[in-house]
């Protein structure tokens, strides 16, 4: 009975949100592409060259990729241009640690800024040189 009630409530929630009734907004976002888990939790130093290898591991492992802006905001990237394979694609792996400016559609929902990137306007590559201070994080050289 309780399980049926839960399913009804979940269905109602899905219907209420219309499968995606959240308001979207066109935005330009500039920042560093980061591995969301390490960068947000602070379990290790997670920026720039020092953390690039780990960021590649995490993206290849399917951890969401975000753009972190200079004011500390995170934009979780669900699409990059024509590629929406956000959990597996090489596009999401290869762009780790890059400084980018992107145009896209922003959906905010329950504490998360989700970004569907329509165009990478600028990609400077990896420019945050942190390895001379931090080495390779984690595990060192």
């Amino acid at each position: 009975m309780m399980r049926r009630m839960f399913k009804i409530c979940t269905l109602a929630a899905l219907v209420a949100y219309g499968g995606g009734a959240a308001q979207a907004e066109r935005v330009r976002v500039t920042g560093e592409v980061v591995d969301t888990w390490c960068a947000l939790t602070g379990i290790m130093f997670a920026a720039g060259t020092a953390h690039h290898q780990c960021a590649v591991w995490c993206a290849a492992g399917g951890i969401p990729v975000s753009i972190k802006t200079s004011d500390g905001a995170y934009y979780v990237v669900l699409r990059i241009e024509d590629d929406d394979s956000s959990a597996t694609s090489d596009t999401f792996v290869k762009i780790q640690s890059h400084e980018v400016s992107v145009d896209g559609e922003l959906h905010e929902r329950d504490g998360v800024k989700y970004l569907f990137v329509s165009k990478v306007a600028d990609d400077k590559g990896v420019v945050n040189l942190t390895h001379s201070d931090f080495g390779i994080v984690p595990f060192g050289n």
């Binding site: 399980r3 839960f6 409530c9 979940t10 929630a13 899905l14 949100y17 219309g18 499968g19 995606g20 959240a22 979207a24 969301t36 888990w37 947000l40 939790t41 602070g42 379990i43 060259t49 020092a50 690039h52 290898q53 590649v56 591991w57 995490c58 290849a60 492992g61 399917g62 951890i63 969401p64 975000s66 905001a73 979780v76 669900l78 929406d84 394979s85 956000s86 959990a87 597996t88 694609s89 090489d90 792996v93 290869k94 780790q96 640690s97 559609e105 959906h107 929902r109 329950d110 504490g111 998360v112 800024k113 989700y114 569907f116 590559g125 990896v126 390895h131 080495g135 390779i136 050289n141």
Partner: protein, 173 residues
């Protein structure tokens, strides 16, 4: 009698609420919790772009709770791996996800440590990523998958550990 009943009910409710096995990581803003939620394709929920089977493992997945909260399932139990492999078999179904809800002011995410399909089931560790990787690449290097993964090796060989071609670590003395 009434007072006794209330106390018994409260104890049962507390026990039910505490019935999780997730480990704290001591992170700021974390809550150890078990949530009952439907497994969803996040892009589908947000923009109605809904391929079959939640994107078949290619897309980020979420947990939609009964009160309409969409939780980004960002991490599983496997080292350096997300939660897509854990949740994909349950696309569109209700699960009980045991783990850490991290409500940072900048971003809210969920780490799935264990899963079960009903409250009566035993919690299963969310390590499907390891199992799947070993099936595809062999068991020998599964615990160090991130170093042995062919795709990772190719990217690191091409761009280097720092992501800049030609930039190499200083030799260790």
């Amino acid at each position: 009698m009434w007072k006794q009943s209330v106390l018994v009910c409260a104890a049962v409710a507390m026990a039910a609420g505490a019935a999780h096995a997730a480990d704290s990581w001591g992170l700021a803003n974390e809550t150890v919790t078990e949530i009952e939620a439907t497994v969803v394709d996040i892009a589908c929920v947000l923009n109605k772009d809904c391929p079959p089977n939640c994107g078949d493992g290619k897309r980020q997945l979420g947990l939609l709770t009964t009160d309409g909260k969409l939780r980004l399932a960002a991490k599983g139990q496997s080292v350096f791996a997300g939660a897509v492999r854990e949740l994909l078999p349950h696309c569109g179904k209700v699960v009980f996800a045991d783990g850490l809800l991290i409500q940072d002011p900048a971003l809210t995410i969920f780490m799935v440590q264990n899963l079960r399909l009903t409250k009566a089931d035993k919690l299963q560790p969310a390590t499907a990523f390891d199992t799947d990787w070993a099936k595809q690449n062999g068991k020998a290097n599964a615990s160090d998958w991130f170093r042995a993964d062919p795709r990772v090796k190719k990217v690191i060989e091409e761009d280097g550990v720092f992501g800049i071609k030609g930039l190499k670590p200083a030799p260790t003395p």
